[in-house]
């Protein structure tokens, strides 16, 4: 499963609860100093649309420090954010596999 450029992450943020598990798992796995993140949770909202519906999304954004957990992946494990994501909204795979998982309801973020 080594990352030869074909692998990536797919995150369907519709059900991302903003729990920070991915952020912290990543920081710990990579022993990052304070202030560094391999993935960061951004937030849109809460704000009310003109139709009355609330918009409130957490948007996980992998950063330039994300190495797709190369050491873990080489050892046969899933990236730690994917392993621990509490809402189960992160997937690791080849871009081709990931693209197949997307349908009209997916709110997708791809990262590689």
């Amino acid at each position: 499963m080594a990352n030869n450029g074909q692998y990536g992450l797919l995150i369907d943020y519709e059900y991302c609860s903003g729990c920070h598990a991915c952020e912290v798992a990543c920081k710990k796995e990579h022993e990052m100093p304070k202030g560094d993140f391999g993935i960061k949770i951004l937030k849109d909202g809460p704000r009310q649309n003109s139709n009355g519906k609330w918009e409130y999304n957490h948007i996980p954004v992998p950063t330039s420090l994300c190495d797709l957990c190369s050491t873990r992946v080489e050892a046969g494990k899933l990236p730690t954010c994917v392993h621990h994501c509490q809402a189960g909204v992160m997937v690791y795979g080849t871009m081709e596999e990931l693209a197949k998982k997307v349908n009209k309801d997916t709110k997708a973020i791809f990262s590689r």
Binding site: D12, C19, A21, A25, K77, V91, V102, T106
Partner: protein, 779 residues
């Protein structure tokens, strides 16, 4: 979209320990301080010196399916923290001076033994009281130690006014249905969700007064609801704040804090008058429906909408949706308990589940006991209490629900009054285990501080860190172990789980070990010789409780999780009553809307609504002075109550300072800018937090965090880790409980807000309390 990832199970073998490179992996359960109620399956990786270096979620666990939240992922930071208590310590200066001397465990035990024997002789064993914090694996230990070793009848939630955490809900459930209920997310079986042949996805899930994805309270993992959402469940969220789940909900009811009972009665009014009830269930299995029908007529949607500050049509639509959906499930939380009418509120909500027949049905609200029926909580060891002592529990003479044993603990406000007044008897010794009441659990924190500091002869605190409570009042401070350092079992709902020790930390001991060691000294007649270590204790209790297997079987054969045969519709099958007859374990054998026991005590047998003791309507003049409804206890992913506050943790990196929410319009009116420190004050006291604008709040409501202390500040008074500076409990009373003794107005007070300036900030609250004699109301 297919979300589930495929874990490489070769790397997570189904065994207790394995080797991964230089590290040893141990599969176990997380259920100690620092940590929450949930008991997730976790893998601890230890190095060759036995030091915990890494954690991962256990993909073999049906409950947690490999996931962990951020706190268990950063756990090694706290396990190996430089400030952790390493040795037993004896106070050598005055209380509050932070002067200690290291002692051996033997010396510590000698001191305890001498004091216990002295108080037993001079004032009776009932002068010794044990106080517990949140529901973790100290529950069974503290009870067994109190009853079998100290011999006193009082075990209590550590100054939590009205015992307002789960106990009001549990007590009312036992009265109404002889059991307690939980939202069914298929958690009691090893096959989950659609793989379970019986489970049904709830069409509607009501989230009432809780933010489950953050708090994972009451042994319920919040993200189970996210799994149900993905499968199509629709939410009704009842919360003064727009939580993330509320934003995703079909209906969000932004009620005024403290009016939950009115809302439930209004929903009942709609459901009953529109005949959306389950007549079959009502006729066959319930009691008092006609009386309930009559009672709810007072609570028209118009009236309730006005009380709750919500839209009438929204209330009606949400009520219809809940009643028409099948199945419908309610996940309720702390806000239900934390009003003066906490039990009544719980009763009203339980009536909703009852009239719609959502009881013990797949995907509804299901009845559940401890795993294997093992008593391993607040009644552990009660058989060793001398006859005649239970009757002497403080508060029992005032509160029939307590007196007739609908929970095992003594009423916490009554304990405070006894400490302060010496009536009806003196309190000589407190044993405070895993609780930090002046930072978190106790209301009117300054009052508790003074009672602890000045009125009790001898106080032992057993904890992980040197807390403000320990500095303020402990005479002896004992270090205890964390989950990775413990052998234990957990029965708080199915499945039964094991905790397997894989490391140790200096001289920190398991709470079980302390209990066992003290037992052999103080009451050897109550302790079999062979019970010398925590593991022995587990096997002893499993044997006494006829569990049918040992801790080792649980660990090895059942892979740390033993599921019993969970069954639905137990009331139809005669599984709820000792006589084996169908029905519920209540005086009428039915699910009681009208509580026959309450009627026999002269209490109102039906649910009702009453205003909080201070509110825009109950105290309009005071509200002019304090023009916000104050709700507290906002949860954050980073913390569990007063834990994880150490300055160098990832938790503090993500969440450095306390924040409260205020609507921008309200803030503008009072000249408050986003991100600035503000005083929050009422007639009881004040505290400060940082304003965070939140447009989703009613502009008349503010919501604050809780549990803040600052381990980076000096321990000794007047600093005391800044424990009162940002503490909402400065503004919340003790001893204003409901008629049942349960419930307190913790989340529904009133306050004013103003910006902090140098002029108005000369003395911080902690200095006010510890040095300047401030905040002395309530005495």
């Amino acid at each position: 979209m297919e979300y589930n990832n495929e874990y490489n199970m070769d790397l997570y073998p189904e065994q207790l320990h394995w080797q991964e490179g230089d590290l040893t992996a141990t599969r176990t359960t997380m259920w100690s301080g620092p940590g929450c109620h949930e008991g997730c399956q976790i893998i601890f990786y230890t190095d060759k010196d036995g030091k915990l270096v890494k954690t991962e979620g256990d993909p073999n666990s049906p409950m947690t399916q490999g996931r962990l939240c951020m706190r268990c992922l950063e756990l090694p930071e706290l396990v190996n923290h430089a400030d952790r208590l390493k040795y037993p310590m004896k106070r050598v200066g005055e209380r509050g001076e932070d002067k200690w001397e290291r002692v051996s465990w033997d010396e510590a035990y000698d001191i305890i033994e001498e004091k216990v024997r002295q108080f037993q002789k001079e004032s009776g064993p009932e002068s010794i009281i044990s106080m517990i914090g949140t529901g973790r694996n100290v529950s069974q230990v503290i009870a067994h130690n109190q009853y079998a070793n100290f011999g006193g009848p009082d075990l209590t939630l550590c100054f939590l006014s009205g015992d307002s955490c789960m106990l009001p809900r549990t007590a009312i459930c036992y009265v109404m249905m002889g059991n307690q209920w939980v939202a069914d997310m298929s958690q009691f079986r090893a096959t989950r969700y659609e793989e379970d042949p019986d489970w049904q996805r709830p069409e509607c899930i009501v989230i009432w007064g809780t933010n489950p994805v953050i708090n994972n309270a009451d042994a319920f993992l919040g993200h189970w609801i996210v799994e149900a959402q993905k499968r199509g469940s629709e939410l009704v969220v009842i919360d003064p704040k727009l939580t993330w789940m509320a934003a995703k909900a079909k209906y969000w009811l932004r009620l005024r804090p403290g009016t939950d009972a009115a809302l439930a009665l209004g929903m009942l009014n709609v459901i009953i008058n529109e005949d959306l009830v389950d007549h079959d269930f009502i006729d066959k299995w319930t009691y008092g429906y006609d009386a309930l029908v009559e009672r709810v007529q007072e609570y028209t949607p118009e009236k309730v909408a006005e009380i709750c500050w919500i839209d009438k049509d929204l209330l009606i639509e949400a009520a219809r949706f809940y009643a028409k959906a099948h199945p419908s499930s309610i996940q309720w939380g702390l806000a239900v308990d934390m009003s003066q009418i906490g039990t009544v509120t719980a009763q009203a909500i339980a009536c909703l589940a009852g009239v719609t027949g959502n009881i013990d049905n797949p995907g509804g609200n299901v009845l559940i006991d401890q795993a294997s029926g093992l008593e391993f909580g607040y009644n552990s060891g009660i058989e060793y209490l001398k006859p005649g002592l239970i009757e002497k529990r403080l508060g029992n003479d005032k509160y029939p629900l307590k007196k007739y044993g609908f929970t095992a603990s003594s009423q916490s406000d009554s304990i405070l009054e006894a400490i302060e007044t010496g009536e009806p008897r003196p309190v000589r010794m407190l044993w405070i285990q895993s609780s930090n009441p002046i930072a978190n659990m106790g209301q009117d924190a300054p009052r508790i501080y003074r009672a602890l500091k000045n009125k009790v002869d001898f106080i032992v605190v057993i904890d992980l860190f040197k807390t403000p409570t320990a500095v303020a009042c402990a005479d002896l401070l004992l270090p205890c172990a964390m989950s990775n350092e413990r052998d234990c079992i957990r029965v708080w709902f199915d499945p039964m789980r094991s905790l397997t020790k894989c490391s140790s930390f200096y001289e920190a001991k398991e709470d079980e070990q302390i209990m066992i060691d003290l037992g052999h000294r103080l009451a050897p007649e109550n302790w079999p010789d062979w019970v010398q270590e925590p593991r022995d204790y587990m096997n002893w209790r499993m044997e006494v409780g006829n569990v049918g297997f040992t801790m080792e079987t649980l660990e090895n054969e059942y892979k740390g999780m033993h599921y019993s045969d969970y069954r639905y519709f137990k009331y139809e099958k005669g599984l709820l009553r000792p006589d084996g007859l169908p029905g519920f374990m209540t005086p009428t054998g039915r699910y009681e809307f009208y509580i026959s026991l309450f009627a026999s005590w002269g209490d109102d047998p039906l649910p009702y609504y009453k205003e909080p003791p201070t509110s825009p309507y109950s105290t309009p003049e005071l509200f002019e002075k304090y023009p916000f409804v104050l709700t507290t206890g906002l949860r954050s992913f980073e913390f569990f109550h007063s834990e994880w506050r150490q300055a160098d943790t990832t938790s503090r990196e993500l969440h450095p300072l306390p924040r409260f929410d205020i609507h921008p319009e309200a803030a503008a009116k009072y000249g408050i800018a986003d991100g600035t420190w503000c005083w929050i004050e009422n007639d009881l006291g004040r505290m400060r937090q940082i304003a965070r604008f939140d447009e989703t709040l009613d502009p008349r409501v503010i919501a604050t965090e809780h549990g803040w202390w600052f381990p980076e500040k000096e321990a000794a008074e007047p600093s005391l880790f800044g424990v009162f500076d940002c503490n909402p409990n400065n503004l919340i009373p003790m001893c204003q409980n409901g008629d049942s003794g349960y419930g307190a107005p913790i989340k529904s007070g009133i306050a004013k807000v103003y910006s902090c300036t140098p002029e108005n900030s000369k003395h911080q609250p902690t200095e006010q309390v510890t040095r300047l004699g401030g905040y002395t109301h309530g005495e």
